[in-house]
Structures are given as C-alpha cells and as structure tokens.
Assembly symmetry: C2
Homo-oligomer: 220 residues x 2
C-alpha cells in the first residue's frame, strides 16, 4: 500500500500534489498541513497531530476525514504519521511538504529518511524531485540528464554509483563532499554502500532545477 | 579573524546581510552569489568559484574585488571558499545564502558544518537564526524563549543539554528524533555530546520563526 503524507513545510505545487494524491491509496495530512487543502479541492483521508495548528473548523471542512489526536510529544507529528502509515500496512510512503521553511524542521524530516532506511520504501518529494536514503543499495529510475546528488553526514565506506557521468567505485564519502550534481547517463542509476547511510536526491530533468544553469559540476 | 561567505542559495534579507558584512573582517562571495550584491550597494572583497554563474561584467561591477578562479571539481565552491578563509587566517566563519533552494545543496552545505566540527567556529545563518555543529560541547547565547533544535543523522551518545525547557541528561539521540523546538529558559544553553555529531539550530525570538505559532513542542 502506498501512503502519501503531507507535512507542514513548503507546500508542493497543486499539480504535483494532485498527481501524488492520485498515486496514493491513503492520504494523511499532519495538523496545519491540512489547512491549504480545501482551496485546492483536496481532502485527506486522515488528519493527524496535536491539533495546535489545524483550522478550528477542520471538522466542517473535511466531513469525511478521520481525525487522530496524537498529543504524545516523544515523536514529531510527521513521525507519528509515518508510524500510523506503517501500522495500516504501508509498504511505500511519500512525504510532501517536508522541506523548506525552517531548517531545523527540514533536517529532522531528512533524519526520518535515515531512521527508516532499509525498513520502508520512503521518499521526500518536492517540486524539484525526490530524496531517499539507503544503507544498502538503491536503483534510481529516471532519464539521461537528470541530476543526482549524494549527501552523507558521517563517513560512508564502499560507495558505488553507476549509470552516471561521474561514477564512484567502492569509494569513501565524507560530509560536505562534492558528490553533488552528478547526472544520469542511462535510464537508471545504481547506488550502493557497504557501511553508512547515503541520502540521495534525484532532480527531474525539466524540473525546477533547470531554472539554474546546471553544468553538472560541483556547486556550492 | 571573522570571515563572511555568501553562497548561492536563498539570499538573506538585505538588513541581515548588511549586519553580517559589518561584523566580518573579510567578505567572500561564491560565484553566482555575487550577482545580487550591486543592487544592494554591497561588494565582496573576494569572488571565488569556477565563474560559470557570475555575471559576465563582474569585473566592471566589482572593480575592487579579488577574483579567484577555482575550477577544481573535487570540492564545491562553498568548500573552496572555506578553505581559502582558513588559509587567510579565519578563526570564525559565517556562511550566508547556504540554505533554501535545492535540498541537495542545503544538505551538502549542512554537511560542511559536520566536516569542520571541532576545527573551526563555523555557522550557517539565515533570517530565522543560525545553525552550527558540535562533536564536543557548545554554548549557545540567546534570550529566554528562543527556539533551539538539535538534529542528528547518526546515533549520538551522551547528549546533555541544559538551560532549556526540556533538558537532556546523558541521553541517546537518534535520527528523526524529537529534539526539535526546545526553548531557552536562560541567557544561554549548554550542549555537549560524548560520541557523535549534533547539528543545533538556534532561532531568534521575534525572528521569522515567530510567524508560525510555535508552542515549543515537537513539530513535523
């Protein structure tokens, strides 16, 4: 089962959100993230959180939604939504609205990718592309010319990346390293790591990244 | 010596950038980041990068700037600027324009905090506040009510945090954990870790974070 979870960061474009909704079997929104949905003509199946941010008239706005109150402060609303998705049988979860805005929220949300690496097919999408994490191996499907970046926050050993312009062969990656803005040369890339966790971002060709002149070389 | 480096992410507000400039002894801008400066009446001392993004008439726009061409692709422009800052005697470095925009750029730039943790007094600032990393201990000076968040991307052992509403005492922090939106109860907080690296974000009271209703509790 494929679950879409909308968090309260930067809202994806309406067209992307609509596509994501159509692809998902179940649509959860955390707390305040639901506020923008009525204007878009969309309704989540479940609204979950401590309800400190959702509009007071949420029950009226979403008459068919299930409201789940999760005041427990040991986990963030987004992590609670993830746990619920897993409880309900999710095998694949897409997070939207999980980036942008406050950097501390962005970092803890990217941290969730690391937390669930190897346990769940989990990705964060935004209008630029998608971000995933692996502690093992991953196939990234796309188009030649798509941008692919790998980030690490601790040394990663035995990193191999094929199907890209600058392949890596059993290499060591360090935090802040230059594995940014590689690009696909085939329909898919293969990424693997022997020890550590890799965070990989795949930017779609023709996506928002095309607004920048991207030479495929390392950028700040 | 305090060095300010402006990267090519989301531009800080003009007032923040002006304050940062005044505080710094040396102002470096990476490549395309310099483009916005003439309109603000500001000029960097050094422009550094592979010059694939800076305006063609940069020499004319910044007649007093030193241009350093760094085509080497083993490091990002921002890391190259950091290495130059250190070479020129920096003891403290502030990065601006290093967040926002593409998530892969944001992650690799936050990775630089991890790379230099314990070796340099390094921080990333934006209009919300500032983000630093520590593999040892740190004092965060601010005001009661300021928001403080700690993120990790690998398990961190022996984390202690005092001077805040929800202190931590020799605890284990895991990726995606809820150490977000704590708040200062004193003029400063003390953060330390026995094993691992902590990324700490300090949001100023009355800063952009105040736009959200922040109860000081965990958020997605």
């Amino acid at each position: 089962m494929h679950v879409l979870i909308l968090a309260h960061g930067e809202m994806p474009s309406a067209s992307l959100l609509r596509t994501l909704c159509e692809e998902a079997d179940l649509f959860l929104a955390t707390d305040g993230a639901a506020n923008a949905l009525p204007d878009l003509g969309m309704a989540p199946h479940v609204i979950l959180g401590d309800f400190d941010s959702v509009a007071a008239r949420a029950g009226e706005l979403f008459p068919t939604a299930e409201f789940i109150h999760t005041p427990d402060q040991e986990a963030s609303d987004l992590d609670k939504a993830l746990m619920l998705a897993i409880e309900r049988g999710a095998t694949r979860v897409t997070l939207a609205g999980a980036l942008g805005g406050r950097i501390d929220h962005t970092l803890v949300n990217v941290g969730l990718l690391v937390k669930y690496a190897g346990r769940l097919d989990l990705r964060i999408v935004d209008d630029w592309g998608e971000t995933r994490a692996t502690s093992d191996s991953l196939v990234i499907s796309g188009h030649p010319g798509d941008t692919l970046s790998v980030a690490v926050f601790a040394p990663a050993e035995g990193v191999t990346l094929t199907g890209v312009r600058w392949p890596l062969h059993d290499e060591r990656l360090l935090p802040g390293s230059r594995a940014v803005s590689n690009s696909l040369v085939e329909e898919s890339a293969r990424l693997s790591v022997r020890e550590g966790v890799l965070i990989v971002t795949h930017l779609r060709t023709g996506g928002a990244d095309r607004e920048e002149e991207d030479t495929g070389e390392a950028k700040e």
